[in-house]
Amino acid sequence: MSNIRVIGPRGSGKTTYLAALAYWPDKRRLGKKAHHFTIQALNNETRELAEKAENIIREGGSLEPTTVAGGIDSLPFYSFRIEVKNLLTIVEMNLAIRDYPGEIFEELESGTKNHLTEEFIDECLMKDVKGCLILLTEWKKGTDKFYSRVLKRFTDLIDSHDRGNDLRIAVAMSKCERGELWPGRLAPEIDLFDVHLPETKAILTAKINPKNLRFYAISTFGVLQRNDPRPNRVDEWGTDGRNSVLRKPSVWQPYGMISPLYWLSTGKRMRDDA
């Protein structure tokens, strides 16, 4: 079982990403690419999350934010079996994934010692955690600086927890269905991170062993169709206007969801995850 943590700022779509992953088994009948992989939810928490995807996301609602209130022990573990079919082989991954509340990511900026944050970070950087998926979502003025400060602090913590050589970090731009991002999804390191988050990328490449760092583009909602790249999302009001909901559940086709998990788990690049 590969242990993976998902971190990122509030509203970056961490739980929605996992809910879409958990719900996938029902949708695989619809996508013609489905033969590349199959996903199975292994425990009750994951099955409940899949139900939330069906009862809330598909119905035009958005999931509640994950909160720090109950501490690390109150957070569920989501457990998946993913089978990826390559040309001649089938790779099976068993994943135990936990997503952390966005506050934890954001509090890293201050650098102040906080018992709750320390509890989360210690758990995130335990020896049996294979990798972290970091979801970033904004690029408006000042965000690059904010992300780079937080990730500088995070990489220092990786070193102080003696994980510098053996923790894989997949950094993904989430919600890539947005028109400004969608064309850059094929080469995210160059077309998304170099363009929108250069300081963040510079910090990460300077501080993390290149063999342990990869950049990805993820779109949980996807676009309407291959030849109609309008985002399959509708923005609605919410705190900071960050809420978005699924536009057309009937054509829901996420993009780039499996590749980062495949690499975090196996250390190998996945052939196709479109």
Binding site: E51, E54, N55, E59, G61, E236, W237, G238, T239
Partner: protein, 249 residues
């Protein structure tokens, strides 16, 4: 876990809670307590309306076992449904009863869902309705400022705030609106986003800026707007189906 009904006097909070238990249900079924039991407790046959909730008890809690039919099937929602007397929103009551007001605020802060029940405003009403009993739109909008203040100051961690203009039978063609807004787990005309946008624009436009203020001040929150009436089951059930999708086990 708790869901609390709040609102001014005579907005119909108790009647909404009681009618939810009516066995003639669509997708929300109250398994316990029984409708007849609730009616005997809350309804005054002699005057043909629910009894005013006792202001001596700042919260009137009732444990409800509810089944909600969601796209993934029937789900159980176990809630403490808490009704509040409208009097407690009067400043004089709060000053005279500081201990009870404090208890009430603690209950609100612990609640997972808050249903704010508003009366319709005068300009919205159908012809023939006695408008004297209702606030003007300006008064209604001003009164809502105090709700904004309440949510921002006293409910900073609220997970779900649902705002309902009740007594929809007095201000719209409820069957037509229900046709548009009705929920159907097998595919409805509108999803939650579309229902909210429709109701917001049609009935809540004068307080849209205030609703946005609530949204902005409480992290991760999306206030949802509904119209409700005890005379149309689809409209009555909608807020509960919405909350049920989040709170169901």
């Amino acid at each position: 876990m708790g869901i609390i009904y709040i609102g001014d006097r005579a907005t119909g909070k108790t009647h909404l809670a009681m009618e939810l238990a009516n066995p003639k249900s669509h997708y929300v079924k109250v398994c316990h307590p029984d409708y007849e039991y609730l009616k005997a407790l809350l309804y005054d046959d002699s005057v043909g309306e629910t009894r005013a909730t006792d202001a001596e008890k700042e919260v009137d809690a009732r444990h409800l076992d509810i089944q909600v039919k969601l796209p993934t099937g029937f789900k159980q929602v176990t809630v403490d449904c808490i009704d509040t007397p409208g009097e407690i929103w009067r400043k004089t009551w709060q000053v005279d009863n500081p201990g009870k007001w404090k208890n009430f605020l603690e209950t609100v802060r612990k609640s997972e869902g808050i249903l704010l029940i508003l009366p319709p405003y005068r300009e919205l009403l159908n012809q023939g309705v006695n408008t004297e009993e209702f606030m003007t739109q300006q008064q209604w909008s001003n009164r809502f400022n105090r709700w904004v203040e309440f949510f921002r100051q006293d409910c900073p961690k609220a997970r779900h705030i649902v705002v309902c203009i009740n007594k929809a039978d007095l201000f719209c063609e409820i069957n037509q609106e229900a046709l548009k807004l009705a929920y159907n787990p097998n595919g409805a005309q509108f999803n939650w986003h579309q229902r909210n946008s429709y109701v917001l624009q049609k009935y809540f436009s004068s307080i849209q800026a205030q609703l946005e203020q609530i949204n902005k001040s409480i992290s991760g929150l999306s206030v949802r707007c509904f119209i409700t009436t005890i005379y149309n089951r689809s409209l009555l059930e909608l807020p509960w189906i919405y909350l049920g999708a989040f709170l169901a086990k």
